[in-house]
Protein backbone atom coordinates (compact mmCIF):
# COMPACT_ATOMS: atom_id res chain seq x y z
CA UNK A 1 0.00 0.00 0.00
CA UNK A 2 1.09 3.53 -0.69
CA UNK A 3 -0.14 6.93 0.39
CA UNK A 4 -2.06 7.22 -2.91
CA UNK A 5 -4.58 4.54 -1.94
CA UNK A 6 -5.07 6.18 1.44
CA UNK A 7 -5.83 9.52 -0.17
CA UNK A 8 -8.23 7.95 -2.66
CA UNK A 9 -10.05 6.26 0.24
CA UNK A 10 -10.45 9.55 2.10
CA UNK A 11 -11.65 11.39 -1.03
CA UNK A 12 -14.42 8.82 -1.41
CA UNK A 13 -16.18 10.72 1.39
CA UNK A 14 -16.18 13.98 -0.61
CA UNK A 15 -13.84 16.76 -1.74
CA UNK A 16 -10.98 17.79 0.56
CA UNK A 17 -7.99 20.05 0.36
CA UNK A 18 -4.44 18.83 0.83
CA UNK A 19 -3.77 19.69 4.46
CA UNK A 20 -7.14 18.32 5.45
CA UNK A 21 -6.20 15.03 3.78
CA UNK A 22 -2.96 14.90 5.76
CA UNK A 23 -4.63 15.40 9.15
CA UNK A 24 -7.56 13.08 8.39
CA UNK A 25 -5.18 10.36 7.20
CA UNK A 26 -3.14 10.61 10.40
CA UNK A 27 -6.22 10.48 12.63
CA UNK A 28 -7.74 7.58 10.73
CA UNK A 29 -4.55 5.55 11.01
CA UNK A 30 -4.22 6.08 14.75
CA UNK A 31 -0.94 7.96 14.48
CA UNK A 32 0.73 4.91 12.93
CA UNK A 33 1.64 6.74 9.71
CA UNK A 34 2.59 10.42 10.01
CA UNK A 35 2.64 12.18 6.62
CA UNK A 36 4.81 14.97 5.29
CA UNK A 37 2.55 17.60 3.74
CA UNK A 38 4.85 17.83 0.72
CA UNK A 39 4.39 14.09 0.20
CA UNK A 40 0.63 14.60 0.20
CA UNK A 41 0.75 17.29 -2.48
CA UNK A 42 3.21 15.33 -4.64
CA UNK A 43 0.91 12.32 -4.47
CA UNK A 44 -2.15 14.45 -5.28
CA UNK A 45 -0.32 15.89 -8.33
CA UNK A 46 0.32 12.34 -9.59
CA UNK A 47 -3.26 11.28 -8.94
CA UNK A 48 -4.43 14.32 -10.93
CA UNK A 49 -1.99 13.49 -13.75
CA UNK A 50 -3.32 9.93 -13.87
CA UNK A 51 -6.94 11.12 -13.94
CA UNK A 52 -7.92 9.69 -10.55
CA UNK A 53 -8.67 13.05 -8.91
CA UNK A 54 -9.90 16.38 -10.24
CA UNK A 55 -8.89 19.76 -8.85
CA UNK A 56 -11.13 22.73 -8.29
CA UNK A 57 -9.95 26.09 -7.01
CA UNK A 58 -12.06 28.33 -4.86
CA UNK A 59 -13.57 28.37 -1.41
CA UNK A 60 -13.66 25.02 0.29
CA UNK A 61 -14.75 24.57 3.89
CA UNK A 62 -14.26 28.28 4.49
CA UNK A 63 -10.74 28.26 3.07
CA UNK A 64 -10.81 30.63 0.02
CA UNK A 65 -8.26 29.98 -2.69
CA UNK A 66 -7.48 26.46 -1.52
CA UNK A 67 -7.43 23.72 -4.09
CA UNK A 68 -10.04 21.10 -3.45
CA UNK A 69 -9.53 17.54 -4.67
CA UNK A 70 -12.40 15.33 -5.86
CA UNK A 71 -12.42 11.65 -6.73
CA UNK A 72 -13.12 10.96 -10.45
CA UNK A 73 -14.91 7.91 -11.84
CA UNK A 74 -11.51 6.41 -12.74
CA UNK A 75 -10.31 7.15 -9.23
CA UNK A 76 -13.33 5.43 -7.74
CA UNK A 77 -12.65 2.39 -9.93
CA UNK A 78 -8.99 2.35 -8.87
CA UNK A 79 -10.04 2.57 -5.22
CA UNK A 80 -12.58 -0.26 -5.66
CA UNK A 81 -9.84 -2.50 -7.07
CA UNK A 82 -7.63 -1.71 -4.07
CA UNK A 83 -10.37 -2.57 -1.56
CA UNK A 84 -10.78 -5.95 -3.27
CA UNK A 85 -7.07 -6.83 -3.36
CA UNK A 86 -5.99 -9.03 -0.45
CA UNK A 87 -2.52 -8.00 0.76
CA UNK A 88 -0.04 -10.83 0.72
CA UNK A 89 3.66 -11.36 1.11
CA UNK A 90 5.21 -13.50 -1.54
CA UNK A 91 6.43 -16.70 0.08
CA UNK A 92 8.79 -17.38 1.68
CA UNK A 93 8.51 -14.59 4.26
CA UNK A 94 11.76 -12.77 4.80
CA UNK A 95 11.34 -10.80 7.97
CA UNK A 96 14.53 -9.84 9.76
CA UNK A 97 13.86 -11.80 12.95
CA UNK A 98 13.36 -15.05 11.05
CA UNK A 99 16.42 -14.62 8.86
CA UNK A 100 18.53 -13.62 11.86
CA UNK A 101 17.49 -16.73 13.80
CA UNK A 102 18.14 -19.03 10.83
CA UNK A 103 21.62 -17.59 10.41
CA UNK A 104 22.22 -17.80 14.17
CA UNK A 105 21.37 -21.52 14.05
CA UNK A 106 23.96 -21.91 11.31
CA UNK A 107 26.45 -20.39 13.76
CA UNK A 108 25.68 -22.99 16.40
CA UNK A 109 22.92 -23.99 18.79
CA UNK A 110 24.28 -22.13 21.81
CA UNK A 111 24.65 -18.94 19.82
CA UNK A 112 21.12 -19.37 18.48
CA UNK A 113 19.70 -19.76 21.98
CA UNK A 114 21.53 -16.60 23.11
CA UNK A 115 20.11 -14.60 20.21
CA UNK A 116 16.66 -16.09 20.79
CA UNK A 117 16.73 -15.22 24.50
CA UNK A 118 17.78 -11.66 23.81
CA UNK A 119 15.04 -11.05 21.28
CA UNK A 120 12.39 -12.75 23.37
CA UNK A 121 13.21 -10.54 26.34
CA UNK A 122 13.08 -7.43 24.18
CA UNK A 123 9.75 -8.38 22.61
CA UNK A 124 8.26 -9.19 26.01
CA UNK A 125 9.46 -5.83 27.34
CA UNK A 126 7.76 -4.22 24.35
CA UNK A 127 4.50 -5.99 25.22
CA UNK A 128 4.78 -4.85 28.84
CA UNK A 129 5.32 -1.27 27.70
CA UNK A 130 2.30 -1.41 25.38
CA UNK A 131 0.17 -2.93 28.11
CA UNK A 132 1.15 -0.20 30.54
CA UNK A 133 0.43 2.56 28.03
CA UNK A 134 -3.02 1.14 27.35
CA UNK A 135 -3.82 1.09 31.04
CA UNK A 136 -2.75 4.67 31.65
CA UNK A 137 -3.88 6.52 28.53
CA UNK A 138 -7.26 6.24 26.84
CA UNK A 139 -6.92 5.70 23.11
CA UNK A 140 -9.01 6.43 20.06
CA UNK A 141 -10.44 3.36 18.34
CA UNK A 142 -7.84 3.72 15.59
CA UNK A 143 -4.96 4.02 18.06
CA UNK A 144 -6.26 1.04 20.06
CA UNK A 145 -6.41 -1.06 16.89
CA UNK A 146 -2.87 -0.01 15.96
CA UNK A 147 -1.73 -1.12 19.42
CA UNK A 148 -3.66 -4.39 19.03
CA UNK A 149 -1.87 -5.03 15.74
CA UNK A 150 1.54 -4.39 17.28
CA UNK A 151 0.74 -6.58 20.27
CA UNK A 152 -0.49 -9.58 18.31
CA UNK A 153 2.45 -9.35 15.91
CA UNK A 154 4.85 -9.31 18.84
CA UNK A 155 2.95 -12.30 20.25
CA UNK A 156 3.31 -14.10 16.92
CA UNK A 157 7.07 -13.46 16.93
CA UNK A 158 7.28 -14.72 20.52
CA UNK A 159 5.35 -17.87 19.64
CA UNK A 160 7.69 -18.48 16.73
CA UNK A 161 10.71 -18.01 19.02
CA UNK A 162 9.17 -20.60 21.39
CA UNK A 163 8.87 -22.99 18.46
CA UNK A 164 12.51 -22.29 17.57
CA UNK A 165 13.60 -23.12 21.09
CA UNK A 166 11.47 -26.24 21.17
CA UNK A 167 12.93 -27.51 17.88
CA UNK A 168 16.47 -26.64 18.91
CA UNK A 169 15.98 -28.69 22.07
CA UNK A 170 14.15 -31.66 20.62
CA UNK A 171 15.70 -31.89 17.18
CA UNK A 172 19.38 -31.09 17.79
CA UNK A 173 20.54 -33.11 14.81
CA UNK A 174 18.58 -30.90 12.49
CA UNK A 175 20.06 -27.67 13.79
CA UNK A 176 22.54 -26.25 11.32
CA UNK A 177 21.73 -27.17 7.74
CA UNK A 178 25.34 -26.59 6.76
CA UNK A 179 27.46 -29.58 7.84
CA UNK A 180 30.50 -27.33 8.10
CA UNK A 181 28.75 -24.88 10.44
CA UNK A 182 30.46 -23.92 13.68
CA UNK A 183 28.37 -26.13 15.98
CA UNK A 184 29.17 -25.66 19.63
CA UNK A 185 28.83 -28.25 22.35
CA UNK A 186 26.49 -26.48 24.72
CA UNK A 187 23.24 -28.26 25.55
Amino acid sequence: MAVREGLLALLDDGPRHGYQLKTTFEQATGGAWPLNVGQVYTTLDRLERDGFVAVTAGEHDGAPGQKAYTLTAAGREELGAWWQTVPSDDPPPRDELMIKMLLAIENGRGHALDILTRHRTALTALLQQRRRERRTAPESLAAALVTDALVVRAEADLRWLDLCESRLRTEPNRSGANPTSREDTST
Binding site: L123, T124, L127, Q128, A154, E155, D157
Partner: protein, 267 residues
Protein backbone atom coordinates in the same frame (compact mmCIF):
# COMPACT_ATOMS: atom_id res chain seq x y z
CA UNK B 1 23.41 -8.36 27.88
CA UNK B 2 21.27 -5.65 29.36
CA UNK B 3 19.17 -7.79 31.65
CA UNK B 4 21.46 -10.71 32.29
CA UNK B 5 21.67 -11.17 36.04
CA UNK B 6 24.45 -12.59 38.07
CA UNK B 7 23.05 -15.60 39.89
CA UNK B 8 24.52 -14.24 43.10
CA UNK B 9 22.78 -10.90 42.76
CA UNK B 10 19.12 -11.06 43.71
CA UNK B 11 17.01 -8.52 41.89
CA UNK B 12 14.14 -6.30 42.82
CA UNK B 13 12.32 -3.55 40.99
CA UNK B 14 12.76 0.10 41.83
CA UNK B 15 8.96 0.52 41.96
CA UNK B 16 8.91 -1.86 44.90
CA UNK B 17 11.62 -0.95 47.35
CA UNK B 18 11.73 -2.44 50.81
CA UNK B 19 11.70 -5.90 52.30
CA UNK B 20 11.06 -8.60 49.73
CA UNK B 21 7.91 -10.64 50.15
CA UNK B 22 9.67 -13.65 48.65
CA UNK B 23 13.35 -14.38 48.20
CA UNK B 24 15.25 -17.30 46.70
CA UNK B 25 18.94 -17.56 47.57
CA UNK B 26 20.95 -20.03 45.46
CA UNK B 27 18.05 -22.47 45.48
CA UNK B 28 18.52 -25.95 44.07
CA UNK B 29 15.82 -28.61 43.83
CA UNK B 30 16.78 -32.06 42.64
CA UNK B 31 14.61 -35.08 41.99
CA UNK B 32 16.07 -38.58 41.90
CA UNK B 33 19.64 -39.45 42.77
CA UNK B 34 22.93 -40.50 41.18
CA UNK B 35 22.83 -40.75 37.41
CA UNK B 36 19.05 -40.32 37.49
CA UNK B 37 19.24 -37.00 39.34
CA UNK B 38 17.35 -34.19 37.65
CA UNK B 39 17.89 -30.62 38.81
CA UNK B 40 14.54 -28.97 38.23
CA UNK B 41 15.81 -25.77 39.87
CA UNK B 42 19.52 -25.21 39.52
CA UNK B 43 20.86 -22.27 41.50
CA UNK B 44 18.17 -19.60 41.36
CA UNK B 45 18.38 -16.33 43.27
CA UNK B 46 15.67 -13.75 42.94
CA UNK B 47 13.50 -11.41 44.99
CA UNK B 48 9.87 -10.46 44.70
CA UNK B 49 9.06 -7.17 46.40
CA UNK B 50 5.84 -6.34 48.21
CA UNK B 51 3.20 -5.43 45.64
CA UNK B 52 5.30 -6.68 42.74
CA UNK B 53 3.87 -8.80 39.95
CA UNK B 54 6.42 -11.24 38.52
CA UNK B 55 5.71 -13.59 35.64
CA UNK B 56 7.78 -16.73 35.17
CA UNK B 57 8.12 -18.08 31.65
CA UNK B 58 10.04 -20.88 30.02
CA UNK B 59 9.66 -24.14 28.13
CA UNK B 60 8.04 -27.21 29.64
CA UNK B 61 10.25 -28.79 32.28
CA UNK B 62 12.30 -25.64 32.86
CA UNK B 63 11.42 -25.57 36.59
CA UNK B 64 8.63 -22.98 36.60
CA UNK B 65 6.11 -24.92 38.65
CA UNK B 66 8.78 -26.36 40.96
CA UNK B 67 9.80 -22.80 41.77
CA UNK B 68 6.21 -22.00 42.79
CA UNK B 69 6.03 -25.14 44.92
CA UNK B 70 9.22 -24.10 46.70
CA UNK B 71 7.83 -20.60 47.28
CA UNK B 72 4.67 -22.03 48.78
CA UNK B 73 6.49 -24.52 51.04
CA UNK B 74 4.93 -27.37 49.09
CA UNK B 75 8.46 -28.64 48.35
CA UNK B 76 11.70 -28.29 50.28
CA UNK B 77 14.83 -27.12 48.47
CA UNK B 78 17.77 -29.51 48.10
CA UNK B 79 20.06 -26.56 48.75
CA UNK B 80 19.76 -22.81 49.25
CA UNK B 81 17.20 -20.76 51.12
CA UNK B 82 13.59 -19.78 50.46
CA UNK B 83 12.46 -16.78 52.48
CA UNK B 84 8.78 -15.80 52.65
CA UNK B 85 7.85 -12.55 54.35
CA UNK B 86 11.20 -12.55 56.18
CA UNK B 87 10.88 -16.15 57.38
CA UNK B 88 13.48 -18.66 56.20
CA UNK B 89 11.36 -21.73 55.50
CA UNK B 90 14.21 -24.04 56.56
CA UNK B 91 13.96 -22.68 60.11
CA UNK B 92 10.26 -23.46 60.43
CA UNK B 93 8.93 -26.65 61.95
CA UNK B 94 6.21 -28.68 60.27
CA UNK B 95 3.43 -26.94 62.20
CA UNK B 96 4.83 -23.48 61.43
CA UNK B 97 5.23 -24.39 57.77
CA UNK B 98 1.65 -25.57 57.68
CA UNK B 99 0.52 -22.33 59.28
CA UNK B 100 2.49 -20.29 56.75
CA UNK B 101 0.85 -22.23 53.90
CA UNK B 102 -2.55 -21.62 55.45
CA UNK B 103 -2.19 -17.98 56.48
CA UNK B 104 0.46 -16.25 54.41
CA UNK B 105 0.41 -17.75 50.94
CA UNK B 106 -2.45 -18.09 48.48
CA UNK B 107 -2.51 -20.46 45.52
CA UNK B 108 -4.35 -20.33 42.24
CA UNK B 109 -4.04 -23.20 39.81
CA UNK B 110 -5.08 -23.89 36.25
CA UNK B 111 -7.74 -26.26 37.50
CA UNK B 112 -10.12 -24.27 39.60
CA UNK B 113 -10.07 -26.54 42.66
CA UNK B 114 -13.23 -25.17 44.19
CA UNK B 115 -15.17 -27.54 46.40
CA UNK B 116 -18.39 -28.24 44.49
CA UNK B 117 -20.47 -28.97 47.61
CA UNK B 118 -19.72 -25.54 49.08
CA UNK B 119 -21.18 -22.25 47.89
CA UNK B 120 -18.98 -19.50 46.50
CA UNK B 121 -18.80 -17.69 49.81
CA UNK B 122 -18.26 -20.95 51.75
CA UNK B 123 -15.34 -21.83 49.47
CA UNK B 124 -13.73 -18.47 50.19
CA UNK B 125 -14.43 -18.66 53.93
CA UNK B 126 -12.80 -22.07 54.20
CA UNK B 127 -9.18 -21.06 54.88
CA UNK B 128 -10.26 -18.72 57.68
CA UNK B 129 -12.58 -21.27 59.25
CA UNK B 130 -9.83 -23.89 59.16
CA UNK B 131 -7.73 -21.33 60.98
CA UNK B 132 -10.30 -20.92 63.73
CA UNK B 133 -11.95 -17.68 62.68
CA UNK B 134 -15.59 -17.51 63.85
CA UNK B 135 -18.10 -18.15 61.05
CA UNK B 136 -19.59 -14.65 61.08
CA UNK B 137 -16.25 -12.92 60.76
CA UNK B 138 -15.08 -15.42 58.13
CA UNK B 139 -18.22 -14.80 56.09
CA UNK B 140 -17.79 -11.02 56.27
CA UNK B 141 -14.17 -11.34 55.12
CA UNK B 142 -15.17 -13.75 52.33
CA UNK B 143 -17.86 -11.40 51.01
CA UNK B 144 -15.32 -8.59 51.09
CA UNK B 145 -12.77 -10.71 49.20
CA UNK B 146 -15.39 -11.68 46.61
CA UNK B 147 -16.34 -8.03 46.17
CA UNK B 148 -12.69 -7.19 45.63
CA UNK B 149 -12.53 -9.61 42.71
CA UNK B 150 -15.69 -8.15 41.20
CA UNK B 151 -18.27 -10.65 42.44
CA UNK B 152 -21.16 -9.27 44.46
CA UNK B 153 -24.16 -11.33 43.36
CA UNK B 154 -25.29 -14.91 43.90
CA UNK B 155 -22.53 -15.58 46.40
CA UNK B 156 -24.58 -18.40 47.95
CA UNK B 157 -24.71 -20.31 44.71
CA UNK B 158 -22.50 -23.32 44.00
CA UNK B 159 -19.40 -23.26 41.76
CA UNK B 160 -21.16 -24.99 38.87
CA UNK B 161 -23.57 -22.05 38.68
CA UNK B 162 -20.70 -19.74 37.72
CA UNK B 163 -18.76 -19.39 34.46
CA UNK B 164 -15.14 -20.55 34.28
CA UNK B 165 -13.90 -16.99 34.61
CA UNK B 166 -16.11 -16.36 37.63
CA UNK B 167 -14.95 -19.60 39.24
CA UNK B 168 -11.35 -18.49 38.83
CA UNK B 169 -12.27 -15.19 40.49
CA UNK B 170 -13.71 -17.14 43.41
CA UNK B 171 -10.47 -19.13 43.59
CA UNK B 172 -8.48 -15.89 43.62
CA UNK B 173 -10.69 -14.46 46.37
CA UNK B 174 -10.00 -17.58 48.41
CA UNK B 175 -6.28 -17.20 47.71
CA UNK B 176 -6.08 -13.61 48.95
CA UNK B 177 -8.48 -13.74 51.90
CA UNK B 178 -7.12 -12.85 55.30
CA UNK B 179 -3.64 -11.49 55.68
CA UNK B 180 -2.14 -13.22 52.64
CA UNK B 181 0.27 -11.00 50.81
CA UNK B 182 1.81 -13.55 48.45
CA UNK B 183 -0.23 -15.11 45.68
CA UNK B 184 1.26 -17.98 43.66
CA UNK B 185 -0.55 -18.59 40.40
CA UNK B 186 0.30 -21.59 38.20
CA UNK B 187 -1.13 -21.08 34.71
CA UNK B 188 -4.25 -19.43 36.17
CA UNK B 189 -5.68 -18.81 32.70
CA UNK B 190 -5.08 -22.30 31.35
CA UNK B 191 -8.73 -23.36 31.55
CA UNK B 192 -10.25 -20.06 30.41
CA UNK B 193 -11.10 -18.40 27.12
CA UNK B 194 -9.22 -15.29 26.04
CA UNK B 195 -11.68 -12.73 27.40
CA UNK B 196 -11.92 -14.37 30.82
CA UNK B 197 -8.16 -14.87 30.85
CA UNK B 198 -7.56 -11.18 30.23
CA UNK B 199 -9.94 -10.30 33.06
CA UNK B 200 -8.33 -12.71 35.50
CA UNK B 201 -4.81 -11.44 34.82
CA UNK B 202 -6.02 -7.84 35.02
CA UNK B 203 -7.51 -8.73 38.41
CA UNK B 204 -4.13 -10.06 39.58
CA UNK B 205 -2.58 -6.81 38.36
CA UNK B 206 -5.14 -4.78 40.32
CA UNK B 207 -4.52 -6.83 43.47
CA UNK B 208 -0.85 -5.85 43.27
CA UNK B 209 -1.62 -2.19 42.64
CA UNK B 210 -4.42 -1.68 45.14
CA UNK B 211 -3.79 -4.28 47.85
CA UNK B 212 -0.03 -4.53 47.77
CA UNK B 213 -0.33 -8.27 47.10
CA UNK B 214 2.78 -9.83 45.58
CA UNK B 215 1.98 -12.14 42.69
CA UNK B 216 4.21 -14.76 41.12
CA UNK B 217 2.53 -16.18 38.05
CA UNK B 218 3.73 -19.03 35.88
CA UNK B 219 2.48 -18.71 32.33
CA UNK B 220 3.47 -19.67 28.82
CA UNK B 221 1.43 -16.86 27.27
CA UNK B 222 3.34 -13.63 26.58
CA UNK B 223 0.12 -11.62 26.44
CA UNK B 224 -0.57 -12.47 30.08
CA UNK B 225 3.04 -12.19 31.19
CA UNK B 226 3.02 -8.66 29.81
CA UNK B 227 0.77 -7.55 32.70
CA UNK B 228 3.65 -8.21 35.10
CA UNK B 229 6.17 -5.70 36.40
CA UNK B 230 8.93 -8.13 35.53
CA UNK B 231 9.10 -11.25 33.38
CA UNK B 232 11.70 -13.85 34.34
CA UNK B 233 12.75 -16.47 31.79
CA UNK B 234 13.89 -19.91 32.92
CA UNK B 235 15.70 -22.58 30.99
CA UNK B 236 16.95 -25.85 32.43
CA UNK B 237 16.28 -24.71 35.99
CA UNK B 238 18.17 -21.44 35.69
CA UNK B 239 17.22 -17.82 35.10
CA UNK B 240 18.50 -17.01 31.62
CA UNK B 241 17.13 -13.49 31.35
CA UNK B 242 14.48 -11.11 32.63
CA UNK B 243 12.85 -7.91 31.53
CA UNK B 244 13.80 -4.81 33.44
CA UNK B 245 11.32 -3.62 36.05
CA UNK B 246 8.81 -1.35 34.37
CA UNK B 247 10.16 2.12 33.77
CA UNK B 248 7.24 4.52 33.99
CA UNK B 249 8.99 7.13 31.86
CA UNK B 250 10.47 5.17 28.97
CA UNK B 251 8.72 5.18 25.61
CA UNK B 252 8.22 2.02 23.60
CA UNK B 253 10.97 3.03 21.20
CA UNK B 254 13.36 3.55 24.11
CA UNK B 255 12.39 0.18 25.58
CA UNK B 256 13.25 -1.53 22.30
CA UNK B 257 16.46 0.43 21.90
CA UNK B 258 17.59 -0.47 25.41
CA UNK B 259 16.98 -4.14 24.77
CA UNK B 260 18.28 -4.49 21.28
CA UNK B 261 20.99 -1.87 21.05
CA UNK B 262 21.76 -1.03 17.44
CA UNK B 263 20.78 -4.32 15.89
CA UNK B 264 18.24 -2.56 13.74
CA UNK B 265 15.56 -5.06 14.68
CA UNK B 266 12.03 -3.76 14.57
CA UNK B 267 8.98 -5.47 15.99
Amino acid sequence: MQYQRDADQPTSGPRHPGTPCLEFVDVVKSFGAGPLEVRAVNGISMRVAAGEFVAIMGPSGCGKSTLLHLAGALEEPSAGRVIVDGQDLATLGAAECSELRRRDVGYVFQRLNLIPALTAVENVMLPLELDGTPTGAARTAAVDALNRVGLDHHLDRYPDDFSGGQQQRIAIARAVIGRRRLLLADEPTGALDTTNSDQVVELLRDLCDTNGTSVVMVTHEPRFASWADRVVFLRDGRIVDETAPVDETASVDEAIAVDLGNDGFTA
